[in-house]
Symmetry: D2
Subunit: 133 residues, 4 copies
Amino acid sequence: MENHFVAETTFRVRYVETDAQGFVHHKNYLVYFEEARSAYLRQRGHSYAEFEQAGYFLVVAEANLRYIKALKFDQQVTIRTWITELKSRALTYQYEVWADDQLCATGTTRHLCITREGQIATIPAFWRTLVQS
Amino acid sequence: MENHFVAETTFRVRYVETDAQGFVHHKNYLVYFEEARSAYLRQRGHSYAEFEQAGYFLVVAEANLRYIKALKFDQQVTIRTWITELKSRALTYQYEVWADDQLCATGTTRHLCITREGQIATIPAFWRTLVQS
Amino acid sequence: MENHFVAETTFRVRYVETDAQGFVHHKNYLVYFEEARSAYLRQRGHSYAEFEQAGYFLVVAEANLRYIKALKFDQQVTIRTWITELKSRALTYQYEVWADDQLCATGTTRHLCITREGQIATIPAFWRTLVQS
Amino acid sequence: MENHFVAETTFRVRYVETDAQGFVHHKNYLVYFEEARSAYLRQRGHSYAEFEQAGYFLVVAEANLRYIKALKFDQQVTIRTWITELKSRALTYQYEVWADDQLCATGTTRHLCITREGQIATIPAFWRTLVQS
């Protein structure tokens, strides 16, 4: 893709996100990525809630995560997010998780656009243009 | 209530349910209670899924929890559950959380019956009879 | 208590916090309350992480929740939090959950101060003074 | 690897695991995989709790998930799990998620063995033999 808008979102690790090893449980990076996608659309002036109100859903078809450095409670985390692939009915987000100037994790998630009835659908032009511009 | 059917459900603590203090995070007792309610209906031959398929939902109006002894990963936990109040549009469940022959927590949750449209509704006779008998 | 410092913290509902009923799952209010306690200390210039680094933990002994109005994905939520009881070894927080100018939930949590070894302990003077002033 | 012990573990989808789309939230497959690893060791006569008591931890270095068919509340799910790679300091688990005789998801997780101090360590011979036999 020519465009390369990168959204950044920053938050603190919640206590509930840790486990008995003392660090953030690995499932929560998928939660962080989801938050990052919400932030991505918000920073472009829209919301994923509007997408669903329009009758569409983005479902996760694939997720890949590499864990580099564990995160702790109260640590300030920044997620950098951009779109690496945009097809008619699918798109892929890429993520970097940063804390204390260190790259702590990376990942990608691939999404399919579906209708309320569960049929795979073309991503509406409005949203396609939004993420392309 | 005259009847006093007590459902018992047993499971092991999942790693993901612990936090950095090394014990089960306090929010997960609400998850255990929900599991116990599912088990309660299942042990009476039905499922909460059927209740929703019939167009009704039980929403939580109130929850009260007392934490007595912390739970650890892999510990075998038994929840005892019974109904302490059954009104036309509401009901209250009570819970005891047991592990290693010790009472580790107690709680109650109060629920309202609502329709798909969010209106408070009378609990259907079928379900009322089911939990009364 | 004479003092009545009220912390306010605002955030958006995460998608992951919803359930199949379409609203925030009731367990997540305990997560929001925990976030509110973190914000409370942060707004007084400190962090719960420091409290644990000093060798103490606050464990939850009791939680009470009233659910008034359901919360939806992406909704902006504000939690108001203050301390209603401060004893030598325990304290109680009270919470109000607001969204769109409506009170959506209330709650209290009661906490005990314990040491790393799990013994109930007096809340250190530094922290007592911090929340009293 | 010559051996190919496959652990199977069956459970029902919890309500709390669903999200507003009406299906299991994608992060929970990592929770299911973790449960499957616990079951794997339990079916070989041991527990991951013992592994940590011996001073070791398995941290997740990598996770890859493919989502094929969404899961619903109350559905009975079976996870099939086996080890595909066993190195001196790392191992890889593979997973299949089945429900109603359909393959609903697949995944792998790669783990590193670390000490309590966070140093990468050789997987103790006892555990290596256990999963090899």
